[in-house]
């Protein structure tokens, strides 16, 4: 029993990261109408700037800041492509473009970072925060979940209490009508891409030491992130947050059960499949009637 609890708690760090990446995906979708497959790859780009600087002997915290800046700029660059060239495209076209950009980013990232070559990723927040039912809860777990909760609260406050947030909600509803009213559509879109790039990068910096820190592995964290976003139906920040944390905990539990541990990487796909089937149930009933 204690082993299960330990595994579940161990999954909290991953869960917090999935939640934060998922909330960022919902933020991007709600405000610039893009299902963004590049989210984690953008974070991976920033994380590898940190790794490169750290391996070159630079002090850790300036390297973290440089990494976050790089992640922000990568986000803005991807956003620039999306808003300039695909601003009026359909949601499915935009999603397909981000898949293509993901492949491109992974190819470039692997090339620049030496493929599967192992890297020395520093642990930013080592150690235990507290004990829960006899199980150590790491600072990284608390931080990723805290960051996800913070981003969720800030997103709600930002969108509902500020003029920029109001303009972003208008932009998400009718981009052209917003632009005709003088709303600086491109600037706001790039702000969204930059903000999510920064948060994603920081989340990946925390989780990277626990994963195999290569560009591909980190970039593919977009799969559990989008699974979490699907739990929130790409609308609810709080359901996405809960979905991400639950996904991490379930993965953690699965890793402690021998018969299923080798399939735990399939769990996000099962969640995606389940949510999609569940969302189609009404259509099926309608057809049956």
């Amino acid at each position: 029993m204690n082993a299960l609890l330990t595994s579940a708690v161990a999954g909290l760090t991953a869960g917090g990261t999935y939640a934060l990446l998922g909330v960022c995906a919902v933020f991007t979708y709600r405000l610039v109408a893009v299902v963004n497959f590049t989210g984690a790859a953008i974070g991976a780009a920033g994380t590898f700037v940190l790794i490169a600087l750290y391996e070159a002997g630079f002090p850790i915290w300036p390297s973290v800041l440089a990494g976050i800046a790089a992640g922000t700029l990568t986000g803005v660059a991807v956003g620039y492509i999306m808003t300039r060239s695909f601003g009026e495209a359909s949601a499915s076209t935009k999603a397909a473009v981000t898949v293509a950009l993901l492949v491109g980013l992974i190819a470039i990232g692997l090339r620049l970072t030496g493929g599967q070559h192992p890297h020395n990723m520093p642990e930013l927040f080592p150690g235990s925060a507290f004990r829960l039912a006899g199980v150590e809860v790491t600072i990284a777990s608390v931080l990723t979940i805290g960051l996800a909760v913070l981003f969720t609260i800030l997103s709600d406050l930002f969108l509902n209490r500020t003029k920029v947030g109001l303009n972003l909600r208008a932009l998400a509803d009718r981009p052209m009508a917003a632009e005709l009213l003088g709303v600086r559509v491109q600037l706001l879109s790039l702000l969204v891409w930059g903000m999510t790039g920064a948060f994603t990068t920081f989340a990946l910096m925390i989780i990277a030491p626990q994963r195999s820190p290569n560009f591909m592995t980190l970039s593919l964290l977009v799969v559990p992130a989008l699974a979490a976003a699907l739990v929130g139906v790409f609308r609810s920040f709080w359901w996405t947050l809960a979905g991400g944390i639950a996904l991490g905990v379930v993965e953690g539990l699965a890793s402690s059960i021998d018969s299923v541990s080798q399939y735990r990487s399939a769990i996000p796909f099962l969640v995606v499949l389940s949510v999609l089937l569940w969302s189609q149930r009404e259509a099926r009933w309608d057809e049956a009637r």
Binding site: L166, N167, A177, A178, G182
Partner: protein, 238 residues
């Protein structure tokens, strides 16, 4: 005084000419009415003026400043407001929030509610839940808060009850009387001509009539002929 001057404007859609060599002006304190049958190019003309679609040639100037290559947002900040066809409210925002999005420096929300007091009691209601007439009032009021010099309005009467259309027309006339230059595209010719000053009739992408609204209102046969896109008549000299 001519606020909006359009010269030799051409606009294509899918590389086919839809608006060809159009000249028109909109003056402060006046309503210029653009009439024409479906497919005449009226909506395309307005979309080209506000920058929704690019123009193929010609110039668009507000107070002498050329804007034909500017983005829609820039044109808005230069004083061009466009009330699109189809009542493009921000559906998930309340009436008040819709107005706040467009609130430019120097504008006051009270101006919008003074123009349409009907919206005051609906200020906390989501725009998607407003009636068609209220939505049309909201998009006109929203455009007003951008502090425009020129207001383009596309088919504001579509799908609305006559009593609401009359209410809207009265409000637009008041805006012009307060000094705004209005370019009004409308299907209901009689009503538009009754509040307008200058009329343009378009047929197959060209202006085939340019003259006084009152004069055209008194010549229903000529209007009918122009609407049907029959013999093209030379534009009236000013």
């Amino acid at each position: 005084m001519s606020r909006l001057v359009v010269s030799n404007l051409s606009i294509n859609r899918a590389e086919l000419p839809v608006v060809t060599s159009v000249d028109l002006i909109a003056e402060s304190g006046a309503i210029s009415v653009v009439l024409g049958a479906n497919g005449a190019g009226k909506t395309t003309l307005l979309e080209g003026l506000s920058g929704i679609i690019p123009v193929a040639g010609g110039t668009i100037a507000i107070d002498g400043r050329e804007l034909q290559n500017a983005r829609p947002g820039t044109r808005s900040r230069e004083g061009l407001a466009h009330v699109e066809q189809g009542r493009t409210v921000f559906r998930q925002l309340t009436t008040d929030e819709n107005l706040r999005v467009s609130l430019h420096p120097g504008a006051d929300m009270a101006e919008a509610y003074a123009l349409f007091p009907e919206l005051l009691q609906r200020r906390a209601v989501k725009a998607s839940l407003l009636s068609g007439g209220e939505q049309q009032m909201l998009v006109i009021a929203r455009a007003l808060l951008t502090r425009p010099k020129v207001l383009l309005i596309d088919e504001m009467s579509a799908g609305l009850a006559p009593v609401i259309v009359t209410r809207l027309m009265t409000a637009v006339r008041k805006l012009a009387d307060d000094g705004l230059a209005v370019l009004l595209v409308e299907q209901f010719a009689a009503l538009a001509l009754s509040i307008g000053n200058r009329a343009y009739v378009m047929s197959r992408g060209r202006v085939v009539y340019d003259g006084d609204c009152a004069k055209l209102r008194q010549s229903p046969d000529e209007l009918h002929r122009l609407y049907l896109g029959g013999t093209e008549v030379p534009a009236e000299a000013n």
